[in-house]
Every structure is written in C-alpha cells, then in structure tokens.
C-alpha cells in the first residue's frame, strides 16, 4: 500500500515515514475511537493502520462499545463542544465513565503510544497502564459550552498531549497542544483518478447534460452549507452565462432538520430544469468523485464549517473552489491563488462568472490548488505529523530535533 503513494505524495514525506519506520520499528501504536465505519475518523484510520504496519510499527485500532444511552450522551457532549446549549447531568457523566470502564476491562490498552479519538473514549485515560497517551480532538471546539469543556478538561489534562485540527479549536491547557490538519486519501474511491467511462457512467445515471458549464456544491442539506444561497448565486450568474447547477448531498439521518432543509431547497429551485438536486445514498464516493471532476465551477459556500475537507478533495482534482470564508476553508483556499473566499451570494456569483469566463485562470488556480493539497492535505503528511509528535514526546523539552 505504501508504494501506491510513490509519485503522488511528496518524496520527503515518504522518506521521513520510512526513517520513522526504522526508528520506531516494532513499537506499538494504539488508536481508540467509537466507530469502525462511517465518519471521517474511521475513514482515515482504515487507511492509516495498514500503512503504519507496513512501516514496521505495531499499529492497532480498538473501538469502544456502548448502548444508545451512551451514544445519546456523547452526541450531546459533541454538540456542546461545538457550542450548542446542552445539559449533561452528573448521572450522564457517570454513565459516560462507567461505559468506558467496562470497555477498559475488555480492551488491550497496552501500547507505547495511545491515541484516543474524540470525547467518547476520553475517560479511558483513567485506565492507562503505560505509554504516552494523546487525546486527538477532531471537533470544532473553538466556542465550546464552558461547563462541558471544563468537565472534559479533568480527563484531558491527564494526557501527555492533545491534538486539534485547527489552532482556534485549541483551549488553554496545561499540556502540550499540537495542531495537525486533517487530510484526504488520494487513492481512495472518492479521490482516485477516474476513467472517462467511469465519469460518463455517473453523468448518465443522473441524466446530467454536458453541453453547458456545470456549477456544483457537494454537501449535506444543512442550512449552514447555504444551499439556498448557492441557488441565488446561480440565478444571478444565469443572467450572463447559461449553465446548470448540481446540489449533491447524502440525506442526513442524524439531522432532524435535514428533510426540512431539503424541502426548502426543492421549493426554492421551483422545478428549474437546470437545477439538479441529487440525494446520494451513503458510499456514493465514486459518483461524488465523478461530479467533482466534471464540474466547471465548484462551490463550498458554507456559512459555518468544521474543516470542510470537500474543498481539498475538489482541489486535488485540479479544480479551484469558491468557498465561504469560515471554519477550515480559509486554510485550504488561498484567496486569489488556489480559489476565492466569499462572504455573500453576490460575491459568490461574481467569482463564478469570473471562472466561467476565464478558463485559463481556472486552469492556473486549479494546478496551484492541487500542489497545495499535495504538500499539505494528504494522508501521508498526517501520518508523518503523528509520528513526529511521537518522536518529540520521546524527547520532551526539545523544540528542534535532527533525525
């Protein structure tokens, strides 16, 4: 599997991974999270564990189990960290701990380095036997609900270090806090190169005409992704350039508002034959890949966003993105270089028109964007960073190390 990244990932990242493999040979690296499938964390771990093993590191992945009461509680904790008002009672915190205690009895938690992903398994730190423990937070905790954050801090400060995805998600804590950007896997179904036939198969499946430029936004039907704003921008553009719009997203089963938003979007589109609202079933990775590769202009016009990895996914396909200046989007789009950041419907419409009328600019920005993703947002870089942190924890107190 490692060899599949040759010629794709930067050489220096691959070289460093091999050097780490030699340094950390046969040492154990355990990851613990709360789901084997579904969600970005599981998606990355599925790819990361075999690569680590191939490097000679004894990598394992354990998943904690819990009942629906447990996951209701952890969903509330998750929402509270994202700033939603939630009440977590003492009983709920106790249950959260108890479920983790049961898991600690069953799981083998012994390893040289243990990464605990997100808040669900965070109490496992109380059952540490040995090794360095790191809490890996994937959530946008830039504006958390204070009581919940304070409670989690009791666990957090027992760890050797914490990792956040964006600097503004980090909290003031007494332990080392590293910032590691998330990543995409360039050889996964969602990002791999497609043949002409594979792309055409998707387009004909959804009966999408190819005689006009295509505007695309891939996101769940959520108000924060501003699908209504995207349609408004399309209408402004349509006065100047004939084009079609595709809004593609999976139905959000865990979001009670999802259906209401989808209905609003359908109503707002007013049966416009050039607006395609595609409700994609889960695991539609190849179709999303094909749509991103076919589109002339890709938007991620979010009003609020965690990291927004769809931006990097699109940029990896050589397409510049017009994105809302929010969350992790400005970390991916360098305004005017790898795409455009916008703050309004009008701003989005203007930039879409610029792209539609300047294919040379699209090509230039697309190439720069792809290189930017290659250097900063591929899975090999994320593994490299994890292993670097491990190495620095073994040399605590040093800020410069030479391999």
């Amino acid at each position: 599997m490692f060899n599949e990244y040759l010629g794709i990932s930067p050489k220096s990242d691959l070289l460093l991974l091999q050097m780490f493999g030699a340094k950390l040979n046969q040492k154990s690296f355990l990851h613990v999270n709360s789901t084997r499938a579904g969600g970005g964390v599981a998606e990355i771990l599925q790819r990361m564990i075999p690569i680590l093993r191939e490097l000679g590191i004894d990598a394992r992945w354990e998943v904690i189990e819990g009942d629906s009461r447990f996951f209701d509680i952890t969903k509330k904790i998750h929402n509270a960290l994202q700033g939603n008002p939630e009440t977590i009672s003492d009983g709920m915190w106790r249950y959260h701990f108890e479920v983790n205690r049961h898991n600690a009895e069953k799981l083998n938690l012994e390893a040289d380095v243990v990464f605990i992903h997100d808040p669900q398994p965070i109490p496992l730190i109380n059952f540490r036997k040995a090794g360095k423990w790191v809490w890996r937070c994937h959530i946008d905790a830039s504006n958390p609900q204070k009581e919940v954050c304070d409670y989690l801090m009791r666990y957090c400060e027992q760890y050797d270090a914490a990792i956040f995805s964006v600097a503004k998600f980090a909290q003031a804590m007494a332990i080392d806090e590293f910032i590691i950007l998330p990543s995409i896997d360039p050889i996964s179904e969602k990002n791999r190169e497609l043949t002409e036939e594979e792309t055409m198969e998707t387009l004909s499946k959804f009966q999408i005409p190819t005689d006009r430029p295509i505007m695309l936004q891939v996101s769940r039907f959520d108000r924060f992704k501003d699908p209504i704003g995207v349609i408004s921008a399309y209408r402004i553009v349509k006065k100047y350039n004939d084009c079609i719009l595709i809004l593609a997203g999976s139905p959000a089963t865990d979001d009670p508002e999802g259906e209401a938003v989808l209905n609003e979007v359908r109503e707002y589109a007013e049966n416009d034959p050039d607006v395609f609202i595609l409700l994609l079933p889960p695991f539609s990775d190849k179709d999303i890949n094909a749509l991103q590769r076919t589109a002339t202009v890709v938007l991620q016009k979010s009003l609020k966003e965690g990291f927004g990895l769809t931006v990097s996914e699109t940029m990896w396909k050589g397409k510049p993105v017009i994105g809302g200046a929010t969350g992790g989007i400005p970390l991916q789009i360098i305004h005017g270089v790898t795409g455009f950041l916008v703050n309004s419907v009008e701003g989005a419409a203007f930039r879409i028109r610029q792209f539609l009328n300047n294919p040379e600019m699209v090509k230039r920005m697309g190439e720069k964007g792809k290189e930017y993703v290659r250097k900063n947002f591929l899975i090999t870089r994320q593994i490299r960073d994890y292993l670097s942190i491990w190495y620095f924890m073994e040399h605590k107190g040093k800020s410069i190390l030479e391999l």
């Binding site: 930067p10 050489k11 220096s12 070289l15 460093l16 050097m19 830039s142 504006n143 956040f164 600097a167 503004k168 980090a170 909290q171 003031a172 804590m173 080392d176 806090e177 590293f178 910032i179 590691i180 929010t326 360098i334 005017g336 270089v337 930017y372 250097k375 900063n376 490299r384 960073d385 670097s388 942190i389 190495y391 620095f392 040093k398 800020s399 410069i400 190390l401 030479e402 391999l403």
Partner: protein
C-alpha cells in the same frame, strides 16, 4: 594533488504547530500577549512566515492579521517592514513589534475587534530536521539539485540557516565560498532579498546565479580546447 571537496548535503525541515492556548481579539490584547509570550512563539510568527504558502503582501503573521482580520492597512505596512534578521536577540524583535503596535495605538483611533473566530492565535512549533538523501559534489550537481529539491529544503538552507549561522549568510553561499572559493557567486546569493520572493522566487534566483557560473566555467574549458 586533487583537493577533497566536502559535498553539500541537502537537508529539509518540517515544523509541527503547537498552540500556546493564547489569543488576541484586538490590538491591545495583541500587544499584551506579545510582551510576555515565549521566544519560540515570536520566532514562529516572524521567521517561519516564509515556510507557509503566502502572498507577497505581508512578511509576518502579525502584519497578516492586522491587514486581513482588522483591515488596518497602515499598521500592517509598518509591521511588514520589520526585518527580523536585523535583530540579534529575540527580545529586540519583540520590543520592535511592541513599539510599532503601541505607536499605532497612540496615533490612530482604536480599531474594532476582530470578528469572532478571527482572533490572533499565538502558536509555536517543534522542528524536525532530516537529510533528504541528495548530495552535490560540484556546482553542476548542485544546480540540478536546487532545481528539484522541495521548498522545505530551500527554506532550511536559505532562511533557517540565517538564524543558525548569523551574519546574514546561508548554507548555499557558505558552501560555495568554502568549497570553491567563489566569493562573487556567494555574494550574489547572499544578496537575494529573502523578503521580496516566495520560495519559488528564491529557487529561480538561485538557479539563475548558479547556472551563469556553471556556464562561465564551461566557457573556460572551451577556451582551453581552442588553444590546443
């Protein structure tokens, strides 16, 4: 007797960001934190700015934030004009930053706070240096290498070296002068202004300077051949 030339070993560095947990939403808070934050943090937001893919509008993170998040253009121009390599001690650089911000606060109406989520976050880094497995024994090999090494390697030898070696010099010009005695070429490389280019611009200037020298050396050989 043939003189042994120490080959140039290309290295590279990567930096992992560390949060200090401190942030500022306005200029007063920025100034308060700059006054007490670690040297490593000041280092990261000034010297390491060049490691990022940036537009040539600013030369450090403080100027970038003042320009983009507070939209205080004059202040960002003042901050961008600070050359970190002018200072021997990190504290002198810290004081210069404080003087510029405090002076601005005295002369102009107090700017608005940054939008929520757009505060200045104070970070530092841990840096890992490693060999990239490329060695150059002569100028021609060196020329080929600088065309292809990654930007992180150029950063390490051109920018980071200035702090490591001091005296406004870098690994490339030092090796060229020590190994071949080519003072003129070394001086030409030292004169490339680190502020006026991004990493690819630096690469272009390095390639031009070294290519010219290699061509000159070749022409000498040509002259020798014609005189036979």
């Amino acid at each position: 007797m043939e003189v042994m030339i120490e080959p140039f070993e290309f290295k590279q560095c990567i930096s992992i960001l560390k949060s200090t947990g401190k942030k500022a939403k306005n200029l007063r808070e920025l100034s308060d934190v700059i006054a007490v934050i670690s040297d490593e943090c000041i280092f990261h937001h000034t010297y390491q700015y060049f490691l990022k893919g940036h537009i040539l509008e600013y030369t450090n993170d403080f100027a970038h934030w003042a320009g983009e998040s507070l939209e205080e253009r004059a202040l960002s121009e003042h901050l961008s004009n600070i050359d970190p390599y002018d200072f021997k001690e990190m504290n002198d650089l810290r004081n210069k930053l404080l003087n510029v911000v405090d002076d601005y606060l005295r002369k102009f109406p107090e700017p608005r706070d940054a939008m929520p989520g757009d505060e200045f976050h104070f970070n530092e880094t841990v840096t890992l240096i490693f060999p990239v497995g490329i060695r150059a024994k002569n100028l021609a090999e060196f020329l080929t290498a600088i065309k292809y090494v990654e930007a992180g390697s150029l950063y390490y030898h051109f920018y980071e070296a200035r702090i490591r070696l001091g005296g406004g010099t870098d690994d490339f010009s030092r090796w060229i002068e020590d190994a071949f005695g080519k003072k003129e070429l070394a001086e030409k490389i030292r004169k490339i202004d680190p502020f006026m280019h991004n990493m690819e611009g630096i690469r272009k200037h390095l390639v031009e300077a070294v290519e010219e020298e290699v061509r000159k050396d070749m022409e000498v050989i040509d002259r020798c051949l014609t005189s036979i």
